[in-house]
Structures are given as structure tokens and as C-alpha cells.
């Protein structure tokens, strides 16, 4: 058992030193000057040049953590809205046109009545292809009630698909918006069905970020209903075919309302560019937008047909402003004016440029840590760890002599290997993770204590040196193994069910258990074996 052939020694040392070396960049980094962020050091260039390092969690490095959530109901509503448009188009395009009326969207269903019951089969034929999604997944159920009323209900599967698609789109939009804000190394991860985690290291003021992400940026241009009576509009009563929107709080008419025509407007999803600027005539902050070709044509048509009329610019269901078409706007570019500051104009430009969120997101958890506090935590945590380690080392060497020295060296390698593995695996070290470190050190010490106490016992019973050491390792290994597996189980469950900083603790614990068994059992065994075979001691001081 105490036989270590050369190849085994080499591979054990190789593994140990390789993992310990992987920890070095993380240990050296804090002492190096942070390179000034110049044009050359783009995030990509940095990533390519630097060696893997242990990520510091936001609680240590400072920064902002946001948890965003979408409501599936919002997705459902949107799905129904889109379906209504698709159905309308399909029925109108049928030859001859299928007449229908009394459309309603309530209780998560879309329903309408055909003017003539004889159209039923034809309508069915026209609508059936709309019921299927990609990959022939049935996304809608189509039923007929009372012979003439058609009811469309999204299937559970259909809603799942819609939510999933919306969330994938939302992650992309969030990423674009954060990139446009110019923050460094953000982490954007989808979590669960309807959530997105956003972590931005170093960001102290999350307000701008939240403002940016809270905006759906659904931009619409709709004609103002000129016939609407102001009193009716204010009371929320719209003419048929019209709709009432409130003014935004920071617009010129906060608290006011505007009646607009439901149909015939343009949506902002055909934008290809948006930039904040200043209107040279009146020095107002504006946002200049550029439509794609199709949108540009539509906009040109709308403005040509309605010169002298007012149109409302609506963002996320709120009117920003309602200027007049002074002349036809050709060429596909337009200007959004409103009561903007330079900052809010820029923010709107970023939101528009990155596209609309397919679904509104709400911030449901937010954690911000100032960088000073993080640095202080690291410093005091390190000081405490150094004092603790020195105390443990003293105790170990005073108790077990040479075997205590082996245990100590193993302990140092344990910490290095743990750091190295965390750097390689790109894991994040958090504040609770530091506590995990302490526990790992505890586990490693316990393993050596178990072994050494066992060797003492064996010696006391009069066993020869080699037999005592062999038995010590063998007998103690059983308990060490069982204890570590149970802790491992607890650590994995902690990772599984835990969230946020607790996962940081679990990661360190789980990796640490593996490295501590390796260093405390395998490595020390190799060193002890080396000592026994070269010195052949008759007695052990243990």
C-alpha cells in the first residue's frame, strides 16, 4: 500500500502542481496595476490575453445584481393581439372575403361571429394553418359555438412556446441595451422560465440600468382622432375605432390624455437606427430615428396623406408628444421630439436602437454592493484566514510533529488546488465562499487528524512502524470517505436548491471536499511513504 511507483509519483505531483499553478494568476492579479481602459483593451482583447482567474462575486468586487421577471400573462395578451391581426387578414384575403364581426378577446380567448353560417367550413380551412406553430406544434385550439361563433384558445404548449420565444428575445434585447450603456463584463443569464439575471461588476448606481431595462420600448405612431371631444377623452370615453392613451409623466402634458385611431399606424419594430441629437432650430433634445425600407414607405404614405394632421408618438402605451405632420416625411428618417433632457433622449435612443422587449420585465430582486465595502471584506476576510491558518498549522505541528508538517503542506496545496480549479472552471468566489474555504480546511485537517490518531493507536498496540502507518491510512479512510460523501451530498443539494450567494458557498464546499481528500489522504500518503522508505525509521514521533 505504501508502494508508490515512479509513474504514480509523477502523475500525482504533476496534477498537484498544474492545479496549483492555475491558482497563481488569481493570487498575483491583485498586486498588478490595473491597466487603464484604453481603446486597445476591449473586453475581448482582455479576455484573450489574460489567464483564467477566480471570479470575485459582486459581494466581494462590488457591483449590481438584478433579477428581472416577465409575466406570462403579458405574453399571452400579446399572442392574442397578434392572432387577432392574423385572423383579420386571413379572412379578408379569402376569396370571396369572409365577413365577420363582434370580435372579442376575453378570458384568454379570441372569438368572433361569422356573418353567415355557411362560411363556417371555408373559415375553418383558412384559419387551420394559423393554428399550427413551427415544427407542427399545435398552438391553438379552434372550436365553433352556436354554429357561427368561432373561438380560438391558445394551447398550453402554444403558450410555452410563446413565453420561451419572448424570453429568448428579451435576453438579447437586455444584452444589447447593457452593451450600449458601455458597462464592462456584464453577465446576463436566463433563469428558469420567466427570469433573467443581470450582473454588472463595478456598477455602483443601478438606477440608469434599471431605467433602461424597465422600458419595453414599444414605439408606435398613431393618428390623433380629431373628432374626439376633449371632455370625453379626459373621461376615458373613446369614439368607435379610437383608443385613449395617457401622456407620459415627463411629457408636456402630464396627466393629460389623447385619443388616437386604433388602426393605420406604424410600429417601431421597423426601426433600423436611433440616435439622440439636438434640433438646430430650437435647441431641443430630440431622438432621430431611421426606418427600414418598408417602414419608411409606410411612414411616407402616412405623412403624405395626413399633412396638417396631428399624430401621437406613443412609447410603452404612453404618449410622448403629438406633433403635426407639417410636410410629407420621405426618405425614412424622422424625429421624435418631446420634453427630453440630453440624458433621457440618449436613454430612449438606446432603448429604441436595441429593439423593443418582447415582454415587459420587472425588477424583483436587486443587490448592490459598493466597491469599498467589497475590498474591505476581502481584506478582513484574508487577515482572519491567515490568522486562523497559522493557528491551525501551529496546533497540527505541535501535536503530530513530522506528520503535522506533511498535513500543513497538504493544506497549502489544498487551498492552491481549490483556487486553481475555481479559476479553470470559471466559478465565482463569494463572501460565503470564504466560509466554505474555512470548512474545507476543516475537512482536510479532520482527515489528517483521523489518520494520525489512528497511527498513534496502532503504534500503541505495538505494531511495527510500516504496519501502523498502513493500518492508519486504511482504517481512517473509511470514515473519511463516508464523511466526505455525506458532506458532498449536502453540498450538491445546497447548490441545487440554493440561490445566489449560497451557491457560491456550495461550489467551494463541493470542490474543496474533492481537493481536501486528495491532498490530505493521497498526497500525505505519498510523502509519508517516501519518508519511510528512505529513512526506514524504527520509531515514529507521532
Amino acid at each position: 500500500m505504501l508502494d508508490f511507483p515512479l509513474w504514480k509519483k509523477f502523475s500525482l505531483w504533476g496534477l498537484t502542481l498544474a492545479l496549483a499553478a492555475a491558482a497563481l494568476p488569481s493570487l498575483v492579479a491583485p498586486f498588478m496595476e490595473e491597466p487603464a481602459p484604453t481603446e486597445a483593451t476591449t473586453p475581448q482583447a482582455q479576455e484573450e490575453s489574460s489567464l483564467p482567474q477566480v471570479n470575485l462575486g459582486l459581494d466581494l468586487a462590488g457591483g449590481s445584481h438584478l433579477l428581472l421577471e416577465a409575466k406570462p400573462e403579458d405574453v399571452k395578451r400579446q399572442k392574442l393581439e397578434n392572432m387577432e391581426e392574423a385572423v383579420k387578414q386571413a379572412l379578408e384575403n379569402a376569396t370571396p372575403e369572409i365577413e365577420f364581426g363582434d370580435t372579442s378577446r376575453s378570458e384568454g380567448q379570441l372569438s368572433f361571429i361569422l356573418d353567415s353560417a355557411t362560411d363556417i367550413d371555408r373559415a375553418r380551412g383558412v384559419l387551420e394553418p394559423l393554428m399550427m406553430g413551427e415544427g407542427l406544434v399545435r398552438e391553438w385550439d379552434l372550436t365553433v359555438v352556436d354554429g357561427q361563433r368561432m373561438v380560438l384558445t391558445p394551447t398550453d404548449r402554444g403558450i410555452d412556446v410563446a413565453v420561451n420565444t419572448a424570453m429568448e428575445g428579451a435576453v438579447e434585447v437586455v444584452r444589447r441595451r447593457i452593451d450600449l450603456l458601455g458597462t464592462r463584463e456584464p453577465t446576463i443569464i436566463r433563469q428558469g422560465d420567466t427570469r433573467i439575471v443581470v450582473q454588472v461588476p463595478g456598477l455602483q448606481d443601478p438606477q440608469a440600468l434599471k431605467d433602461q431595462l424597465g422600458q419595453t420600448a414599444q414605439l408606435e405612431f398613431k393618428l390623433v382622432d380629431q373628432q374626439a371631444l376633449p371632455t370625453n377623452t379626459q373621461a376615458g370615453v373613446a369614439n368607435p375605432g379610437s383608443q385613449i392613451f395617457p401622456y407620459a409623466e415627463d411629457s408636456d402634458f402630464p396627466g393629460g390624455f389623447e385619443a388616437v385611431k386604433r388602426l393605420g399606424g406604424i410600429r417601431g419594430d421597423s426601426l433600423i437606427n436611433a440616435r439622440a441629437g439636438v434640433d438646430s432650430r430650437n435647441n431641443e433634445n430630440v431622438v432621430n430615428i431611421q426606418f427600414d425600407q418598408q417602414g419608411g414607405q409606410k411612414f411616407a404614405q402616412l405623412s403624405t396623406e395626413n399633412v396638417g394632421e396631428r399624430f401621437a408618438i406613443i412609447l410603452d402605451g404612453k404618449v410622448i408628444s403629438a406633433p403635426v405632420f407639417n410636410e410629407p416625411i420621405l426618405g425614412g428618417s424622422a424625429q421624435i421630439s418631446g420634453n427630453f433632457t440630453a440624458e433621457s433622449a440618449n436613454q430612449l435612443a438606446i432603448s429604441l436602437q436595441s429593439g423593443a422587449l418582447p415582454v415587459p420585465l420587472a425588477v424583483i430582486e436587486e443587490r448592490t454592493v459598493g466597491p469599498d465595502l467589497g475590498a474591505e471584506s476581502i481584506r478582513s476576510g484574508l487577515v482572519a484566514m491567515i490568522i486562523g491558518s497559522l493557528a491551525v498549522i501551529t496546533l497540527m505541528i505541535a501535536t503530530y510533529g513530522r506528520f503535522g508538517i506533511y498535513a500543513t503542506i497538504a493544506l497549502v496545496f489544498n487551498v492552491l488546488m481549490l483556487l486553481g480549479l475555481m479559476a479553470i472552471g470559471n466559478f465565482t468566489l463569494t463572501l460565503p465562499g470564504i466560509a466554505g474555504f474555512v470548512l474545507t480546511v476543516g475537512a482536510a485537517v479532520d482527515a489528517n487528524v483521523l489518520i494520525n490518531e489512528r497511527i498513534r493507536e496502532e503504534r500503541k498496540r505495538g505494531r511495527k512502524v510500516v504496519t501502523a502507518v498502513e493500518n492508519g491510512y486504511n482504517e481512517a479512510s473509511r470514515a473519511i470517505y463516508d464523511a466526505n460523501v455525506t458532506n458532498f451530498i449536502a453540498g450538491v443539494l445546497l447548490f441545487w436548491f440554493g440561490s445566489g450567494p449560497i451557491r457560491g458557498f456550495a461550489v467551494v464546499l463541493v470542490i474543496g471536499l474533492v481537493t481536501s481528500v486528495f491532498t490530505a489522504v493521497t498526497l500525505t500518503k505519498m510523502w509519508v511513504a517516501g519518508y519511510l522508505s528512505s529513512k526506514r525509521p524504527k520509531d515514529l514521533t507521532i
Partner: protein, 326 residues
């Protein structure tokens, strides 16, 4: 070189003699823990209760004006029952406020509240530095509570199953009871001291489970070994022997972990205090439960030296019959 021996050789302490009183004590402690939780409640941090926590440092003031802050904040209309506590250094505070029901579904609300609070403090204290803000909605905190409870329960059960497979069912049950005891007492301590109970504390409790298990398994492993070795020894005597044989290890391990934890407790970051304090308390609770709860339970559940003798299988019995006939 003379080496340190913390535990004299060949101890023979009759741990199990007092097993009945200690067992009653353990039961009382377990029940007491839950009574404390039920009557006094846990002081949930924002992780579990939802709400906002703002941590601030007064950079030019030696001591944070806790009382004044409390008054300032109570005067604010939107703030109800603010909790202002010292946190780490004398000039650091943590302010916890609940989010009112209308904040649910209105992401703006939490922001406005933070701004209001910071503004109100800055009026008299321009030197205030905001170190961090945690804002957790009621929905998320509810999930955290469920997740944490689930993690604890799952860890205890899975671990007990592992021990049952590796040892015998009695050992699994014994370990489960010991763990339940440790968790109950720790929760009770948090209810008594009203220290903030956060996600980190769940990590601490899981660490305690792990540590207590280490102890229990080391003792159990020795019991299993001795059951095979001394087949005629009465069980209480055998348990005492096993505990005594592993005593040096128990003391040494507890001591090393303690000397590693104490500096963290006294010099470590304030945000780790609760976690480290819980683990330190758990160190004692876990050691106690391994000796005085996990081991004596084996007596009452009827572990015998036969437990680890391989049982006769069907084929063994048939073979015997065949041999007998021959």
C-alpha cells in the same frame, strides 16, 4: 521532540452512563428550539421577509447615529417600522424597511423608497456613504424560504439514506435524529438571540449538518468496527469504548476548526458574522449530539453485534439443506 497530547491516553470516560438524562435534555432542547421559533419568531432578513436593506457608512462620524436615524426614518410617510442596526464597525449601519403591498408589481416603488431614505439621511449627514442596497420582492423572498426549507430537508433525508445504506437502518435513523436536533437547536438560538436570519444562515446550518455528520460518522465507523471485533461486549460498554477511542480525534478536530473560526468571528467581515457565529455554535451542538444523542439511540433501537454479520441468503440456506441431506 515532545509532542502535544490534548487527550490523555486510554481515557475511559463513562459517557453513556448519563444517557437517559442527556437524552431527555436533547429532547427538551429540540422541543425548546421549535417553541422559541414559534413564540418569538425568526428575525428574517430581506432575503426571507422581502423588503429593502440599505447598508451605509458615516465616513466622518465615529459612531452612527442609530437612534436619530430611527426617528428620521419613522417620520417618513412611506416607511413603516424601520429596523436600524449597527453593522460591523461603529460607524456602519444597516437599515431594513418593509416594502408596502403596493410595491408588488411596481418596480419603481422600491427605487423611490431608497431615494427618499437616502435623501432624508443626507440632510443631516452629508458624509453618509451608501455601501449597498438589497431589494427583494415578496415573491422572491417567499421562494427563498421554500427553497431553503427544501434544501435543508432534502439534505437531511438524503444523508440519512446514505448512512442507512453504508451502515444499518438504526444508524441512519440515529444520524437523522441527531441532525434534526442540531438544526432545531440552531434555529432556536437564532430565535432567542433575534440575530438576522438570512440565506447565509441556511448555508451555515448546512455546514453544521456536514460537521455534525463528520462527528457522527467517525463514531459510528468505530462502533461498527468494534461490533465486529468484540462480539460479546454489552452495547453500552462498546459505545463508551468507541467514543473514548475517538475522543482524541474529536477534541483535536473541534479545536482546529475552532481556532480557524474564531479569527473569522472577531476579525472577519461584518457580513460574515452571522454565518461564522452559527457555524461556531453548531460546532458544539454537533459534537454534543454525536456523543449523547446519535450513539445512545443505537441502544434503544436494538443494534447488536449481529448487525454486521452477513445474513444467510436463500442460496446459503438451500446449500446447507443439500449438504445436510447428503
Amino acid at each position: 521532540m515532545k509532542l502535544l497530547k490534548l487527550v490523555p491516553e486510554d481515557t475511559n470516560i463513562k459517557f453513556l452512563k448519563l444517557r437517559v438524562p442527556f437524552f431527555i435534555l436533547s429532547i427538551l432542547l429540540t422541543i425548546g428550539g421549535w417553541v422559541a421559533v414559534a413564540t418569538m419568531g425568526l428575525n428574517y432578513g430581506v432575503d426571507f421577509a422581502g423588503g429593502q436593506e440599505i447598508r451605509a457608512t458615516f465616513t466622518e462620524t465615529a459612531e452612527a447615529p442609530v437612534v436619530e436615524l430611527r426617528e428620521t426614518l419613522t417620520a417618513l410617510e412611506s416607511v413603516e417600522d424601520p429596523i436600524v442596526q449597527r453593522f460591523g464597525e461603529p460607524n456602519e449601519v444597516s437599515i431594513r424597511v418593509k416594502l408596502p403591498p403596493e410595491a408588488e408589481g411596481n418596480p419603481e416603488f422600491a427605487n423611490q423608497m431608497t431615494n427618499q431614505i437616502v435623501e432624508a439621511i443626507s440632510v443631516n449627514h452629508p458624509d453618509v456613504r451608501i455601501d449597498g442596497v438589497d431589494s427583494v420582492s415578496g415573491k422572491v423572498s417567499g421562494e427563498f424560504r421554500n427553497d431553503a426549507a427544501l434544501a435543508l430537508l432534502a439534505a437531511m433525508i438524503m444523508v440519512a439514506i446514505y448512512i442507512w445504506i453504508r451502515f444499518e437502518w438504526q444508524f441512519g435513523v440515529g444520524a437523522l435524529f441527531a441532525l434534526f436536533h442540531d438544526v432545531s437547536v440552531t434555529l432556536g438560538l437564532f430565535a432567542l438571540t433575534q440575530m438576522e436570519f438570512s440565506l447565509q444562515i441556511i448555508a451555515a446550518i448546512l455546514a453544521i449538518i456536514g460537521y455534525s455528520l463528520n462527528d457522527t460518522i467517525v463514531v459510528y465507523d468505530r462502533i461498527r468496527e468494534n461490533l465486529k471485533k468484540y462480539r460479546k461486549m454489552p452495547l453500552p460498554e462498546l459505545l463508551d469504548l468507541s467514543v473514548n477511542e475517538t475522543l482524541a480525534r474529536t477534541v483535536m478536530t473541534s479545536l482546529t476548526l475552532l481556532v480557524a473560526l474564531l479569527p473569522l468571528l472577531f476579525f472577519g467581515p461584518a457580513s460574515l458574522f452571522g454565518l461564522v457565529a452559527a457555524i461556531t455554535a453548531g460546532l458544539f451542538i454537533g459534537t454534543y449530539s454525536s456523543v449523547y444523542l446519535a450513539s445512545p439511540l443505537l441502544i434503544w433501537m436494538g443494534v447488536t453485534s449481529d448487525s454486521f454479520v452477513p445474513q444467510e441468503t436463500e442460496t446459503d440456506i438451500q446449500e446447507k439443506k443439500v449438504l445436510g441431506k447428503l
